[in-house]
């Protein structure tokens, strides 16, 4: 499956990271190799196999609807790079109107 530098640029955009032009080229080649390797799996006939979403045979793990103690305000804000009073502070990203 051919991977273009455009594909890499798009995936990078979705992850909000930027690559230098030479990185785009290198990652395109590497990703293509990885995908080709995985494509070997297509030789197998899996028509009788149900898609696997979880590998462990665990199901229906539920908890009671009970309120438990939340974190203290100090703990909540401990790693916040920017805050104002009890709020996390972030750059505004949508300009309404």
């Amino acid at each position: 499956m051919p991977i273009s530098t455009e594909d890499i640029r798009y995936v990078a955009f979705l992850a909000r990271i930027t690559f230098a032009p030479e990185e785009l080229k290198r990652f395109a080649t590497q990703l293509e190799t990885i995908l080709e390797y995985i494509e070997q799996l297509e030789e197998l006939d899996v028509s009788d196999v149900r898609p696997t979403t979880h590998v462990l045979p665990v199901k229906n793990v539920l908890r009671k609807d009970e309120k438990r103690e939340s974190l203290s305000s100090e703990a909540v804000m401990k790693n916040a790079p920017s805050k104002q009073n009890a709020f996390f502070k972030v750059p505004r990203i949508i300009q309404d109107k």
Binding site: K59, D65, E66, V90, P91
Partner: protein, 479 residues
């Protein structure tokens, strides 16, 4: 060219639970910012979500009330996007294996009953709340709401007017309230709605370019925004222009929609199975149990009110919209079995009082038993309808016993003929001009004289008797 409107709605309903959907934090509205948060709902590394049993049960209950098929197996997925109100940069939602599909909801429209298809109902977590600062550069984030259980209810594009969309929302809210899964308070954001709308030449089957509208804070806003879009799209198409497929925001002050900016990329959510939550099997036994616990739905109750109490469709509709009001109505009937009379007072003076005081029927002090008593007093002629109007606000506000209050305030109707005759004499003597007019054939003048008697008795005179006495007096003598 003639166009028809195609509308589909996506409604989010917060489920009322004590704790969040994947962690034990509380779900109260209006708590101090970020005090209902923990490593799970803040998305801290290493934390693991565990599904809330009650949220899952209420979700299934809601889907059953909307006549959905309940899946045997359901799974959760991660929906990825970056936004500051989403701490993990993905929302735990459901993609290709929602727990329910293929339901329907009956709505009442002018032509009768219409069935609106429900595509799917799935369970997800709510996001946090952003407040934009006045400086314009920053926003503040409160994650108290992040992780609140949220139901997404997606309708088929089955509605063909803003009115139908409004009827659908009203009915959906009534159903959610009846089954007690949500408080549906739009002001608190417990119920939110986005709409998809397109126009197509009448009689054709394809769908036109679809516009999604967001930012509507009430059912009336949804209706107004949709009407605005119908007109806007109609004008474009009639001019031979095309409608751009986009998301638009409703401006509640200016009453128009504008394209939402900063969202030019089409969404690529990269859904994948949530590895931290296992699959969930829903046993048929559980489905049957929940189904058997469903109360009478608003549509059935409405039908019953029409057939059992002989109310009009309209009256039955108003009374059953609000479960508490319908319960109240039926409780009054236990003691005073005159459905039409009870309906009239409830829908008239009492609903007016509720709307003026911004209260619900459960918040007033007047019990159904006490309303029954008050209406009986009127039926027995102890008080007039006019006095009834006067005392109801007092009973509603203070919860007094109607009988005691009527006595204490001296409001009992005067039906004593001798006493009324004396007052009639006085009123006639004081208003010779009106007496003259009446005798000259002006029936209206009688009303003025009746009013005079009512004024003298401060509304307590028995009106039928006053009418009768006045007529006798005026028609038989010439003084």
């Amino acid at each position: 060219m003639d166009f028809e409107t195609v509308i589909g709605l996506e409604v989010h309903v917060q489920l009322s639970t004590a704790s969040k959907v994947f962690c034990g934090c509380g779900t109260l509205f209006g708590e101090a910012a970020n005090t209902q948060t923990c490593p799970v709902c803040l998305g801290l590394p290493g934390s693991l979500p565990v599904l809330n049993k009650e949220a899952f049960r209420k979700a299934i209950k809601a889907a059953l009330a909307l006549n959905c098929e309940i899946a045997e197996i359901t799974k959760f997925d991660r929906k990825h996007y970056f936004y500051p109100d989403l701490p993990k940069n993905f929302q735990i939602s459901q993609f290709d294996m929602p727990f329910s599909r293929d339901g329907q909801l009956e709505i009442i429209i002018e032509e009768g009953i219409k069935r609106i298809g429900i595509t799917r109902v799935h369970l997800e977590e709510d996001a946090g709340k952003l407040m934009h600062m006045a400086d314009g550069d920053n926003s503040l984030v409160d994650f108290n709401r992040a992780g609140t259980p949220l139901l997404e209810i997606v309708s088929e594009p089955d509605m063909s007017s803003p009115e139908e969309a409004y009827a659908y929302l009203t009915e959906l809210k009534a159903v959610m309230e009846y089954i007690e899964v949500s408080d549906c308070d739009m002001e608190k954001g417990s119920l939110r709605c986005d709409a998809n709308i397109s126009l197509r030449p009448r009689g054709t089957a394809g769908l036109g370019a679809k516009v999604e509208i967001k930012n509507m804070n009430s059912f009336k806003a949804v209706r107004a925004a949709l009407q605005y879009e119908v007109n806007r799209q109609h004008d474009l198409l009639a001019d031979g222009k095309t409608v751009v497929q986009e998301t638009r925001l409703w401006d509640a002050d200016g009453l128009y929609t504008t394209p939402m900016r900063g969202k030019e990329e089409s969404h690529d959510y990269r859904y994948f199975p949530e590895p931290d939550l296992p699959l969930f099997e829903i046993s048929r036994q559980m489905v049957a149990d929940i189904r058997s616990g469903l109360p009478e739905m608003p549509a059935r109750r409405r039908e019953r009110f029409v057939s059992e109490y002989r109310l009009s469709e309209y009256d039955a509709g108003v009374l059953t919209q609000d479960k508490a009001l319908a319960d109240y109505f039926e409780e009054v009937l236990v003691d005073y079995n005159n459905p039409k009379m009870v309906a009239n007072w409830l829908m008239g003076d009492i609903l007016a009082y509720l709307s003026a005081t911004n209260m619900t029927i459960t918040e007033v002090k007047m019990t159904p038993q006490s309303l029954a008593k008050a209406l009986k007093l009127q039926e027995d002629g102890v008080i007039s309808g006019k006095i009834q109007k006067q005392i109801l606000p007092v009973l509603l506000k203070e919860g007094k016993d109607p009988e005691a209050y009527v006595k204490e305030a001296g409001l009992a109707q005067i039906s004593d003929e001798d006493e009324l005759s004396r007052i009639v004499e006085r009123v006639i003597a004081a208003n010779p001009a009106s007496v003259q007019s009446y005798r000259e054939g002006k029936e209206k003048a009688l009303g003025f004289l009746v009013g005079g008697v009512m004024k003298e008795t401060r509304g307590k005179a028995n009106p039928q008797l006053v009418n009768q006495l006045l007529k006798e007096r005026l028609d038989t003598s010439n003084t």
